[in-house]
């Protein structure tokens, strides 16, 4: 048919290019692309022009200037005389660390909640049901402030800190959770390499056991050998290289504890609120995914003699994944975006340190807002791209 069409359009030779099917679509695509490019150029040029005519300084030069303020908590070291660009990076790492931990815990907790809701035990399924309904139906901002003011602010003051284990190593008070900080010695890099080697070894063992099972049908669990490798090798190397790791212990000095590692109460509150709120959504996605697998699959698996736990793990979940992953992508993106609510309780995320403080100090509203949007967009698109790859991997493969 297509061939016949081409013949027809070729027959109407002499008419304009627009009537030629071969060029028409290309022509329109060029026109549309040109319009978009022109609009983009117009917006940027007009913005710059307007800012200039109003005497507002434009450009990203301010990024190298000294910020001058301090940041309450950061993963990387920050000093008041660091640049605005460093503030941007500090904000990004603070947002990413909270989002990363929250995404992992959300997903794990979500799976538990989803499976619990499907349990045949009345108590378990109802508990999970209430959990989902209560958490899903109250605003996240409210929950964050609840955890912060209602739980972490009520902890004892530094002088009456809770001492976990009584060893004067772990302390909890309303300024945060304090713990000993590991200070790596000179030869610690050898241990790091040993850990990497152990991980590679464990992956190899698992693959080998899978290959053997596929080839011969015999199942040799790689779990215990892998675990032994993961723990044993790094430990052996660590002690052989002379235990090159010291610890900095937190101690009460003046108003607060000094030294050691600290997780501020705002971060704890934010993490818990994000995880609990989003896990209720994740639970529903998991439940929907599992229910989308036909009951016949379970019956078939039982009749093959598989245990219920194996049935869930080997038959149901892999098939449920293709229904779970797409909504999970947007949930993960929501976790990252919702972490910007941190500003309500004083956690220094990117919106707080960059879009609030830096914007106010430097006055470069447009550049800063655009940079923050660019960051959130990059993260969202990366999550989406990564999970789409995984999604392709778990979809039904028709052979």
């Amino acid at each position: 048919m297509a061939v016949a069409d081409k013949g027809l359009s070729g027959a109407s030779a002499g008419s304009s290019i627009l009537n030629d099917e071969r060029y028409r679509s290309v022509f329109y695509q060029i026109v549309v692309f040109g319009l978009i490019a022109w609009t983009g150029y117009y917006l940027i040029a007009n913005t710059a022009n307007n800012l200039q005519s109003r005497g507002m300084s434009v450009g990203l030069d301010f990024l190298s200037g000294e910020a001058g303020f301090s940041i309450a908590w950061s993963l990387l070291e920050f000093k008041p005389n660091d640049s605005y660009f460093w503030v941007y990076l500090i904000g990004i790492t603070n947002t990413l660390i909270v989002s990363f931990i929250a995404i992992i815990l959300t997903t794990i907790l979500g799976f538990f909640v989803g499976i619990m809701r499907l349990s045949s035990n009345w108590l378990v399924s109802n508990l999970a049901g209430w959990y989902v309904e209560i958490l899903r139906n109250t605003p996240l901002l409210l929950q964050i402030i609840f955890w912060y003011l209602g739980v972490f602010s009520l902890l004892p003051r530094p002088k009456q800190s809770l001492d976990f284990g009584g060893a004067e190593l772990f302390f909890l008070n309303n300024r945060g959770f304090y713990m000993p900080k590991a200070v790596p010695g000179e030869l610690f890099w050898i241990t790091v390499i040993a850990i990497l080697v152990a991980i590679a070894g464990a992956i190899y063992l698992t693959h080998r056991s899978n290959r053997i099972q596929e080839a011969t049908g015999e199942y040799h669990s790689a779990f215990w050998p892998s675990l032994a490798l993961l723990i044993g090798l790094p430990l052996a190397v660590f002690f052989a290289s002379g235990s090159p790791l010291g610890f900095e212990i937190p101690a009460l000095k003046g108003f607060n504890f000094r030294g050691g590692g600290r997780i501020p109460p705002a971060m704890c509150a934010l993490l818990i609120a994000l995880v609990i709120y989003h896990s209720s959504y994740a639970g529903e996605m998991v439940r929907a995914g599992i229910m989308s697998v036909s009951h016949g699959q379970t019956e078939a698996s039982y009749s093959l003699g598989l245990k219920p736990s194996w049935t869930m793990r080997l038959v149901i979940i892999p098939q449920a994944m293709r229904a779970i992953i797409p909504p999970m992508i947007s949930l993960w993106m929501n976790v990252v975006k919702n972490s910007s609510l941190a500003i309500a309780i004083g956690y220094p995320d990117i919106v707080s340190v960059f879009m609030q403080t830096s914007l106010n100090q430097s006055g470069h509203a447009i550049e800063i807002v655009a940079m923050v949007m660019l960051f959130y967009m990059t993260v969202s698109l990366s999550i989406s791209a990564a999970l789409n790859v995984y999604n392709k991997h778990v979809q039904l493969k028709e052979r």
């Binding site: 800012l51 108003f255 004083g346």
Partner: protein
Amino acid sequence: MKKLSLLGLGAGLIAAVAFSAAPAQAESTLDIVKKRGHLRCQIGTPAPGFYNLKKDGSWVGSDVAVCRAVAAAIFDDPNKVEFQSVTSTVRFTALANGESDFLSRTTTWTLYRDTQLGLTFTTVNFYDGQGFMVPKDSGINSALDLKGATVCVLTGTTTELNLTDFSRTNKLDIQPVVFEDSNVRNETYLKGGCDAITNDKSGLASNKAGFPDPGAHTILPETISKEPLGPMVRKGDGQWFDIVRWTVFALVAAEEMGINQGNVASLAANPTSPEMARMLGKEGDLDKGLGLPKDWVVRVIGAVGNYGEIYGKYMGSKSPDGIGIARAGSQNDLWTKGGLMYAPPFR
């Protein structure tokens, strides 16, 4: 959600600048305001003293009074004002875009803001300074005792920078905890989540008045920064700049000459000095350059009172709306009484 609104706002700001054509230079701000029939004045979200909402929904406060004074000068009606309550994050962009005619929002006059935002400060209508508030039972008597302390601070102001400067200068290693919402900050402070609150002293007084037990907190003596607060306008319209600036001067000059809301009408008819006669429009033509009617000062004072009356009503301790900041001997007193409030001569 907060983030969505923030990002939406950001997009809006960008769009507003991107799509709007450059403002027409031909028409002056005064003409635009007259044609529109009311003034657009940017103030902040409710804060006792400067701009606060009454039960009937009307705005009151010392910064609000400046808006009303300018409206009275132009329209002879202090209510011909559209108040735009904005957060500190968007204030400069909103003014630069022409969404409002001027900004009267506890904004600190700094070199940077005066030169690089396309905006300009008119004058100072309140001298403030940053201080600290601590619980009385903490035993802290000086800001220099705050070594290693955790201090709660609001974002979006010069406060964060001053705090860090003070901490660096005195090697105090103060840890800031930054909040966007003053209610959450106050609650954190009251529960001991930080050792002190820092803010402009007027703000601290206003917060303290709202605490369940105001007597249990004390404002430390140190003032760690200069915070001259005043109205801002866009650069490029000298006449409009003069109108806002001289309206504030008129409030101060009126107090100096003993003109108040009660006696302004009679003094306008029978001025007691040549300068008063010129200021109240009985003699001379001082209104010419401003493009305002001859009796504009009479209208202003008749509508909002002089500087001292405004201060007493919203800042002092005697009125129900006041936040209890003593004026006598402070920088906000008249220059004749040892303060910094000084208006150039009306001649």
